[in-house]
């Protein structure tokens, strides 16, 4: 075995991998997100996702170093050597001092950690909503009366009328092009939904939209936390037919199709 060849010990490889992963998540991803979305600020990786990814990284490192006895030994060796200290008198002076400093610093780091964890801080509560709460039975089986059984619109006129209704009533929040960027979104913490996002109305049946438009935030079940949703209950002002028209227009404006029950082969 050549001593000239530089080989990082397993312990340090693991530590460095974890650090690299962390830096990637903490700085790499936010920066890349900023570049890609063309916005002007870094977009942090949410803490929950961060915690999840880091736990996985640690598990991965542990799995790797324990795949063989040799690796475990190799991994443990630097740690043990550090703990043991210089027993053979071969360490340089600065290494000895570095060890002492590390050992001395550790309890204080721990103390500091405990202090920052236990000290009373006020973080604003995490808000999370079930993305698609369960539709009530009364709405479940509704079909858009303005569509033919094959899904085509009965009359193009309905889409146009729905478009006017959409632009008048929904545009202020959901935006001219249904991208969820209307001017009234400015003050609302829960931003209006972008219908162009393929994860939103494109995955839903029309009856679902009908329910959401008609009942609004007030009609949401408790687990979907209506407290911050500004969605009005449009049953107050719009007729059912108008709502169905708006639904046609939403899909048309956003350029997506409603989910269809798949045909059974």
């Amino acid at each position: 075995m050549s001593h000239l060849q530089f080989k990082l010990s397993l312990f340090w490889s693991a530590v460095i991998s974890l650090i690299v992963t962390y830096l990637f998540l903490e700085y790499g991803v936010p920066y890349a997100t900023m570049l890609i979305t063309g916005r002007e600020q870094w977009m942090p990786v949410p803490r929950t996702a961060m915690a999840m990814f880091m736990i996985l990284a640690v598990v991965g490192a542990m799995v790797y170093v324990s795949t063989s006895d040799e690796k475990i030994e190799e991994f443990r060796e630097p740690v043990l050597a550090f703990l043991r200290g210089d027993q053979d008198g071969r360490w340089s002076t600065w290494a000895k001092w570095a060890r002492v400093v590390c050992l001395a610093a550790f309890p204080f780091l721990l103390g500091g950690f405990v202090y920052f964890q236990t000290r009373l801080t006020a973080a604003s509560p995490t808000t999370l909503r079930i993305q698609h709460p369960t539709i009530p039975g009364a709405y479940e089986k509704l079909k858009n009366p303005l569509r033919n059984p094959d899904g085509t619109v009965k009359n193009v006129k309905f889409v146009e009328e729905g478009g006017v209704l959409y632009q008048k009533n929904c545009r202020p929040c959901h935006g001219t092009t249904a991208a969820g960027d209307g001017p009234m979104g400015w003050g609302f913490r829960l931003k209006p939904v972008s219908f162009r996002d393929p994860g939103t109305i494109a995955t839903l049946v029309e009856a679902y939209l009908f329910w959401r438009i008609k009942e609004g935030a007030a009609g949401l079940p408790p687990e979907a936390s209506p407290w911050d949703s500004a969605m009005p209950a449009w049953k107050e002002e719009l007729s059912d037919e108008e709502i169905w028209k708006i639904i046609l227009a939403e899909f048309d404006t956003a350029g997506v199709e409603p989910r269809k029950p798949e045909k059974l082969e």
């Binding site: 929950t48 995490t126 999370l128 909503r129 009364a138 687990e223």
Partner: protein, 335 residues
């Protein structure tokens, strides 16, 4: 063998606990409401949540009242926004209380709510009848605390929850006293003269050959006619005495929506029945045999509301004592 087994057991338990912990965390993170709580269990404390549970389960209030879009009963006023005055009951109560005050019985909104449970007949909403059972009497038999919870639930429908105010209400005292009497009454409850056989009773109810044939007009579950009131849950809200009386003296108390009318046609026919459907052109009535008749309005000369029930009054004569008890036993199973 012993030691590895111990190790494996501990290891297993730890993994399962981890799983349970993740479940707890996910529940917390996802903000899942405690969907289970309150259902089925009797109320603890006078909270709107407990009241809601009672309203929709034990109290069986939902068999007559709906709350907004929840529920489908129309026998009694809707207690949600779609109810009378287009106001939910919590908000409505204040106006009703003013009305009651003008009628000479001064009270606040909370008092009105308590009163309407304590003395259902004291104030009856226009367009409805007083057919509300006394909830503190069997078979519903709510405890005073449970009634309080229901009142807070009603208050939470558009009003301010004020549990302390309920205690102050004089009507609650009345109710408590009445409930105590009722409890005493239960002690020496009404007993049938002889035990009935529900199976035979069912036969009497449904059999086309039986002299009474209740099934022609009344339905239980899916079966039966729809001339008279549906009896699927009759025993849940009515006492045996009430049922017995309703069989023997049908006209004494007629369920709302089942008043009969007498129609005289222009060609002189007389038709008595319950109005099932009415539109601009015609009126459809069901007669005492469960038959539907459609009469064009153009042919009607006169229509007179009747004070008597369409239900035959002669069951006391037709039924033997045993038949009556069998029938009653059957009806009592309908909870």
């Amino acid at each position: 063998m012993k030691r590895p087994f111990l190790g494996v057991t501990i290891f297993t338990v730890v993994i399962v606990l981890l799983f349970v912990y993740i479940g707890e965390v996910l529940t917390k993170v996802s903000g899942e409401a405690v969907k289970g709580a309150g259902h089925g269990v009797s109320a603890v404390g006078a909270t709107p949540e407990a009241g809601e549970a009672i309203f929709w389960r034990k109290g069986a209030c939902y068999t007559c009242h709906s709350v907004g879009r929840r529920g489908s009963s129309i026998r009694a006023p809707n207690l949600g926004e779609s109810g009378p005055l287009n106001m939910p009951i919590g908000a409505r109560a204040a106006l009703r209380a003013q009305e009651r005050t003008k009628q000479g019985r001064p009270m606040a909104a909370t008092d009105y709510l308590v009163e309407s449970l304590a003395e259902p007949g004291a104030y009856v909403v226009e367009g409805f009848k007083n057919e509300m059972p006394l909830v503190w009497k069997p078979p519903i038999a709510l405890q005073p605390d449970e009634i309080k919870a229901v009142v807070t639930y009603l208050q939470s429908q558009g009003g301010t929850v004020d549990a302390a105010g309920i205690d102050k209400s004089p009507f609650l005292q009345k109710l408590k006293a009445a409930a105590a009497t009722a409890a005493a009454e239960v002690a020496e409850a009404w007993k049938p003269y002889m035990p009935g056989d529900p199976k035979l009773g069912q036969e009497i109810f449904f059999s086309p050959e039986s002299p009474v044939g209740c099934g022609k007009c009344h339905a239980t579950k899916e079966k039966g006619g729809d001339v008279g009131p549906e009896l699927t849950h009759v025993a849940a809200t009515r006492t045996p005495q009430f049922i017995l009386q309703a069989i023997l003296e049908p006209s004494k108390e007629i369920a709302s929506g089942f008043d009969s009318i007498l129609i005289q046609t222009k060609d002189g026919r007389l038709i008595t029945g319950i109005v099932k459907k009415e539109d601009v052109a015609s009126i459809t009535v069901a007669d005492s045999q469960g038959q539907l008749q459609k009469i064009p309005k153009a042919e009607i000369a006169e229509r007179v509301p009747q004070k008597t029930s369409l239900m035959p009054e002669n069951f006391g004569e037709i039924l033997t004592v045993k038949d009556l008890h069998d029938l009653l036993a059957f009806l009592m199973t309908l909870k």
